[in-house]
């Protein structure tokens, strides 16, 4: 095994100091002389035609300096990828409550709000579409864009996997399951609300400070809708106060709004959302309805899986086509089947809109399939962990898609590890005796029951067949012999800046303290595709490794020249170079000598993922180059009187390949589990006729420090040959199996399944929802907060 100096060793997060001191400048902390404040007029109707939009009264409001609408953009600000269906400001129609219609810049936030209130906007209500089950009805109101083909305009996409004839196999199986599951929307709830600062430049361009995930995507959108050449647009990412998939489209829109206002007024413009505005206007994790058929032999061998999923994309496509694709690939779970069909259909509605969120489709389907797998284990009379071990993917197995796994499959290790760490066998037997029969709804007393549950996961690395998968990085030695690095992939709290620093330090043989990673900036970094899909370590890490190796070669030449020896005779002693004469020369001397030799002390690295193929029509192929595998076990206490669930223990074993930055990887793991716990138990977002009911943290509850238990996390490192040092990914997969592990534990405790997330008090206690009427009130009030 290679001994690394920095990879996998304890390290300090490179951007932690400014954050603990409180000196890190997030976008809302930045201001410039003469800066204006911007505010949007937002729709208070879920579906309406814009009959009249007159902004001139706003311009008469004292302090207002500029007002814009969709008419101020190229092609009315139409943008979106892969489906171009949204406008930077609404054009002709609004399709969800909170959609931005116009934007005002003024001397103060109060004046901007007064300007918004002065705008004359007449919305003519259109019939709303709130039930995705009826989106494709012939008479359903049209929410989606006109289509060139004969498909329903509310149809967004359908993604499939095909292997054999699962229903025919299912009919033959002695053990059968057919069940429905659902998940609701989930809010990212980054603690930093959205914000943007745009500064006009003297040559007619604009610099945008935007806490987005993917500055180059923002850059491309801005150049398009502002009709500016690319070199007049610059996007810089300040520290980002959390994102989790959430700061893409919504920040691109705010960027386009603030940038246009900056160009119109000639002054810096800052737009910062209130929490209410954030919750109402931003996209969420998509809700899904799922129906699963599983068939197994009497000995517990899984044979057939059919999975039908209906995904609500809301008013716009955003990333839903890609989300649905990732959902389809992972819907059957990490198991072997003789036959397997998956159909995921995404449709439009007027229930807000849905886009990327950590796990990106897999979090949704894993919640369902890992409960279904648990139910099958009960049906065949096997321990749920044994049942998974019997059926799970191993090296050499073929997935349901037709991909043979040749390396880096750590799932059985993960399952065996959580079994041991959680004391699974003892607790499983003990709690089963203590909880002899299912509690009847309405009859249980105030007793507390314990249960323990498991869930397994696999999660494809990076983009897979979603798109061309590449990244670039640069590394340069500055005049003072510090090392400057850049990446086109960004760190919004994930720790990738530290990963890149450690990779560069390892390859160059210099201390990490010598290295400085610049803030992501479209003027200096190499375009690397979007920062999504937990791809930064693998794609960006490989690119950084290549860049540093290229620079290292230059420095090695200089060292050999200085020491009068051959390249192969060089050895390193700390940062120093040592030749055959055994006299060390410092790295600084080598760098100085390289300059004197006229060598360029900078290098680039580019890395592209191995080619893979997916046939969308056949539903077969190789969707991802590698997979992250994991198993999580949750132990719960359920109050049978109130339905309250407390997670009292949690064990997680993950195979992210080689871990490069351990503190960061554990942080991702614990944080993902906390988000999964919220998804399982408390994060409920309700749309009442298109109006969101939870508009701040007093009603949208996310886990606090007393809701999250002490977590025992461990890594099973099954290296992947194409990953940097064998690394794969960690950010998304950490949260994916958490909810089903908790739900399976609840069932173990109570004897009853809660198949709809979140498992709130009444679902656990009564087995059904207590209907909440809901109204437009809170949502409309939220829109008015300044």
């Amino acid at each position: 095994m290679t001994d690394h100096q920095y990879i996998g060793k304890p390290a300090r997060r490179v951007d932690a100091l400014e954050k603990v001191l409180g000196t890190a400048k997030y976008v809302a902390d930045r201001k410039l002389p003469g800066m204006l404040h911007a505010h949007c007029l937002r729709s208070d109707a879920p579906h309406a035609a814009i009959k009249r939009l007159d902004v001139t009264p706003a311009l008469a409001v004292p302090g207002v300096r500029g007002v814009i609408t969709s008419d101020d953009y190229f092609e009315h600000g139409l943008y979106g990828f892969p489906v171009k269906d949204k406008y930077m400001l609404a054009y002709q129609k609004v399709r969800y409550v909170g959609e931005a219609i116009a934007a005002v810049a003024a001397d103060t936030p109060e004046a901007a709000l007064a300007g918004v209130q002065a705008i004359i906007c007449e919305l003519e209500p259109l019939p709303g579409l709130f039930d995705p089950e009826h989106s494709l009805d012939p008479g359903a109101p049209q929410v989606g864009p006109d289509r060139p083909d004969d498909k329903h305009p509310n149809f967004l996409d359908k993604l499939i996997v095909r292997k054999g004839d699962p229903l025919a196999v299912w009919e033959q199986c002695p053990v059968k399951l057919e069940e429905h599951y659902s998940v609701g929307p989930q809010e990212h709830a980054y603690i930093e609300p959205e914000g943007v600062l745009a500064v006009p430049t003297r040559e007619g361009g604009v610099v945008v400070y935007a806490p987005n995930q993917s500055p180059f995507v923002n850059h491309g959108n801005l150049a398009l809708v502002l009709d500016l050449p690319h070199n007049l647009v610059r996007v810089i990412q300040p520290p980002v106060g959390g994102s989790f998939g959430g700061k893409d489209d919504v920040i691109y829109e705010s960027s386009a709004q603030a940038a246009k206002l900056a160009l119109v007024t000639g002054r810096p413009v800052r737009m910062v959302f209130s929490r209410e505005e954030s919750l109402i206007a931003s996209y969420k994790r998509d809700p899904m309805h799922m129906r699963i058929w599983l068939g197994a032999d009497a000995d517990g061998a899984l044979r057939a899986c059919k999975f039908d999923g209906l995904m609500d994309s809301g008013a716009y496509a955003s990333e839903s086509s890609f989300t649905a694709w990732r959902a389809s690939i992972h819907a059957m779970g990490a198991y072997r089947y003789a036959a397997c069909d998956v159909d995921i259909t995404a449709v439009y509605t007027n229930n807000g809109y849905y886009g990327a969120f950590r796990g990106f489709g897999n979090t949704e389907v894993c919640s369902a399939i890992e409960q279904a797998i648990d139910e099958m284990a009960y049906k065949v009379g096997m321990d749920p962990l044994d049942f998974r071990l019997k059926n799970c993917l191993r090296v050499g197995d073929e997935t349901a898609h037709g991909q043979t796994l040749t390396e880096s499959v750590g799932l059985t290790d993960c399952l065996n590890t959580v079994r041991r760490l959680s004391d699974w066998d003892r607790k499983r037997a003990e709690y089963a005796t203590r909880n002899p029969q299912p509690a009847m709804p309405g009859t249980a007393g105030h007793t507390v029951r314990r249960g323990i549950g498991v869930a397994a996961l696999y999660h494809g690395t990076s983009l897979g067949a979603e798109g061309h998968d590449y990244a670039g990085a640069t590394v340069a030695v500055e005049q003072n012999n510090s090392v400057d690095i850049t990446s086109g992939l960004t760190d919004y709290g994930t720790g990738s800046r530290t990963v890149y620093t450690l990779v560069a330090a390892e390859e160059l043989g210099v201390r990490p303290e010598r290295i400085h990673m610049q803030r992501p900036d479209t003027d200096t970094a190499v375009e690397s595709g979007p920062t999504v899909a937990s791809r930064s370590t693998m794609l960006g890490g490989n690119a950084m490794r290549i860049a540093a190796m290229n620079l290292r070669q230059t420095l090695d030449y200089a060292a050999a020249d200085l020491l009068g020896c051959e390249l192969h005779q060089l050895i390193r002693h700390g940062e120093d170079y040592v030749g055959p004469a055994e006299e060390p020369v410092s790295w600084d001397k080598v760098a100085d000598h390289a300059r004197a030799m006229g060598l360029a002390l900078s290098a680039q690295g580019k890395w592209s993922a191995p080619r893979i193929n997916w046939d969308h029509h056949a539903g077969r192929g190789t969707p991802y180059m590698a997979y992250h595998f994991a198993a999580q076990v949750a132990e719960v206490e359920v109050d049978m009187g109130t339905g309250n669930v407390q997670v009292v223990g949690f064990w997680a074993a993950h195979d992210p390949g080689k871990v490069i930055f351990p503190q960061g990887a554990y942080g991702q793991l614990y944080g993902g589990i906390a988000q999964g716990l919220g998804y399982a138990l408390m994060e409920q977002m309700t749309f009442a006729n298109g109006y969101v009911q939870e508009t701040n943290f007093e009603s949208y509850l996310i886990p606090t420090s007393v809701d999250v238990p002490e977590i025992v996390g461990t890594f099973v490192e099954a290296p992947f040959s194409h990953g940097p040092y064998g690394a794969k990914n960690i950010a998304e997969p950490s949260m994916v199996p958490t909810a089903p592990a908790i739900l399976n534990a609840i069932c173990h405790a109570t004897g009853r399944r809660v198949r709809d997330l979140p498992a709130n008090l009444e679902r656990v206690r009564l087995g059904k929802d207590l209907t909440k009427g809901g109204s437009a009130k809170a949502c409309k009030l939220g829109l008015k907060v300044g």
Binding site: R12, R13, D15, A16, L17, E18, K19, V20, L21, G22, T23, A24, K25, Y26, A28, D29, H188, A189, Y190, I191, E192, P193, P239, V240, G241, G242, S243, F244, S274, R275, Y492, G493, T494, G495, Q663, G664, Y666, G667, L669, Y670, G671, G672, I673, A674, Q675, N696, F697, E698, I702, P703, T704, S705, V706, V708, E710, I711, V785
Partner: protein
């Protein structure tokens, strides 16, 4: 109106409207942006400061209420050399920082806890942080950092 108080161990006097919050006073009138505005309704704790020895959400305190009080913000939490103190060092060492937006509030909450309870258990630390939301870390490494700080301060005595 003129609001006078002790801010990070130094007296300040600032002219500001009477109807703003302490958070706005700190951020917009005193240019101290370490306390963050996360929800404005006292739920997230990103705006936490210590007021007369107690942890408060500065978004729920009217600025005039600060008059005559002693306030410590994250900018006042420093080691003897002006750099990070032991709590802040431990936040770095234990990997407690991700996006960082809640971290000033978390550090301040940790300091407020140790003022009153120098030897907290992990459960007590969790209870003390229950008003400070973090969406990145799952809290575990934050608890580790505060626990280590308490331990370190005990050893030093």
């Amino acid at each position: 109106m003129l609001i006078e108080f002790i801010l990070n161990h130094k007296p300040v006097a600032v002219e500001a409207p009477a109807d703003i919050t302490l958070l706005t006073l700190l951020r917009d009138y005193l240019n101290l942006t370490g306390a963050k505005e996360g929800c404005s309704v006292g739920e997230c704790g990103a705006c936490s400061v210590i007021m007369d020895g107690r942890l408060v959400n500065s978004c729920l305190v009217l600025a005039p209420q600060a008059g005559g009080s002693e306030i410590i913000t994250i900018e006042g939490v420093r080691g003897p050399d002006g750099g990070p103190n032991d709590m802040q060092e431990n936040f770095i060492t234990y990997g407690a920082v991700q996006c960082g937006i809640c971290i000033p509030g978390m550090v301040v909450a940790g300091e407020a806890l140790l003022l009153h309870n120098p030897h907290p258990t992990r459960a007590e630390i969790r209870t003390a942080l229950a008003g400070n939301l973090c969406r990145c870390t799952g809290y575990q490494q934050i608890v580790d950092a505060i626990e280590a700080t308490a331990r370190g301060r005990t050893v030093d005595l």
